[in-house]
């Protein structure tokens, strides 16, 4: 009697832990970051399935409305495999964001991924892509009419008191 009761508790405990972990993962998997005024970044790590794609899509669209952003950098550096399903999800995100008036750049494409996409015969002609997030950000700045300027007198940059001896 006692033994079976204990077993039930551990089972319930395990179930609860599993639920918590699931919740944590789903929170972690859709961070939408405002990297600059009007520019959002959505770094995707790990594989993308339908449920996750939907969640990401919703989170992204919500943030676009909240922040009034015009550009989204969809970073797929951390996506191990891109197949037709993943590509379709990405293109859906691009299309939905476009309806809200935001341009989506897909960044972080590896050469291997690019080749796969070509071999799959996907039409990416209407999607702006860049190899790295940095390149995408550069393009986003250009699109918003911003420029990054290097000051020669970098010494004027406020450093944390004396500790920093760069």
């Amino acid at each position: 009697m006692r033994a079976s009761g204990g077993e039930a508790t551990t089972h319930a405990d395990r179930e609860e832990t599993l639920q918590q972990q699931r919740a944590t993962i789903s929170e972690l998997q859709t961070p939408v970051i405002e990297v600059w005024d009007g520019i959002l970044a959505l770094p995707i790590i790990g594989s993308v399935d339908t449920a996750r794609a939907q969640e990401m899509n919703e989170a992204l669209l919500q943030r676009i409305v909240e922040t009034g952003s015009e550009i989204v950098l969809l970073d797929i550096t951390g996506v191990p495999v891109v197949d037709t399903a993943v590509a379709r999800h990405l293109l859906e995100t691009v299309a939905a964001a476009r309806l809200l008036g935001a341009d989506v750049f897909i960044v972080g494409l590896s050469s291997r991924m690019a080749m796969t996409l070509v071999q799959l015969g996907l039409d990416l002609s209407h999607v702006t892509t860049r190899a790295t997030l940095a390149k995408g950000l550069e393009l986003a700045f250009a699109r918003l009419g911003l420029a990054v300027v290097a000051h020669k007198s970098g010494a004027h940059w406020p450093t944390p008191a004396d500790g920093d001896k760069r």
Binding site: N57, E58, L61, I64, A95, A96, L99, L100, G101, A102
Partner: protein
């Protein structure tokens, strides 16, 4: 049922949908816009859908139609204020309004149209 009012400001026509957009009103809107565009001197059409929560394939096609018609008559259409849920629905229906310019809100949409006017 509610008619969609069309306001003319300078060379821009602004149509703000009140509450939902029903088929009958949408057709009427298309017709009225067409008549106004025919008279010329209109550079842009701003279609505000921020109050619309449901869109079906008919409406999506009609909106695309309005955009294409106005382009033929020399004006550009910007659709603004599409809600996230509506955007998701449209994409899932495979009706992502190709060739229609979009903006988050009326202010940004108007900026797009006026920028174009300045370039031209």
């Amino acid at each position: 049922m509610a008619r969609v009012p069309i306001v003319r400001i300078g060379q821009t026509l602004i149509a703000t949908v009140q509450e939902e957009l029903y088929d009958h009103d949408a057709l009427q809107l298309q017709e009225e816009l067409g008549l106004l565009l025919e008279q010329g001197s209109v550079q842009g059409v701003l279609l505000d859908l921020s109050t619309v929560t449901t869109v079906d394939s008919f409406l999506a096609r009609l909106i695309s139609g309005i955009a294409i018609t106005s382009r033929l008559l020399g004006a550009e259409t910007v659709v603004v204020g599409i809600q996230p849920a509506v955007a998701v629905t449209l994409v899932e229906l495979g009706l992502a309004l190709p060739g229609v310019r979009t903006a988050l809100n009326a202010e940004k949409g108007l900026a797009l149209l006026t920028d174009r006017g300045r370039d031209a």
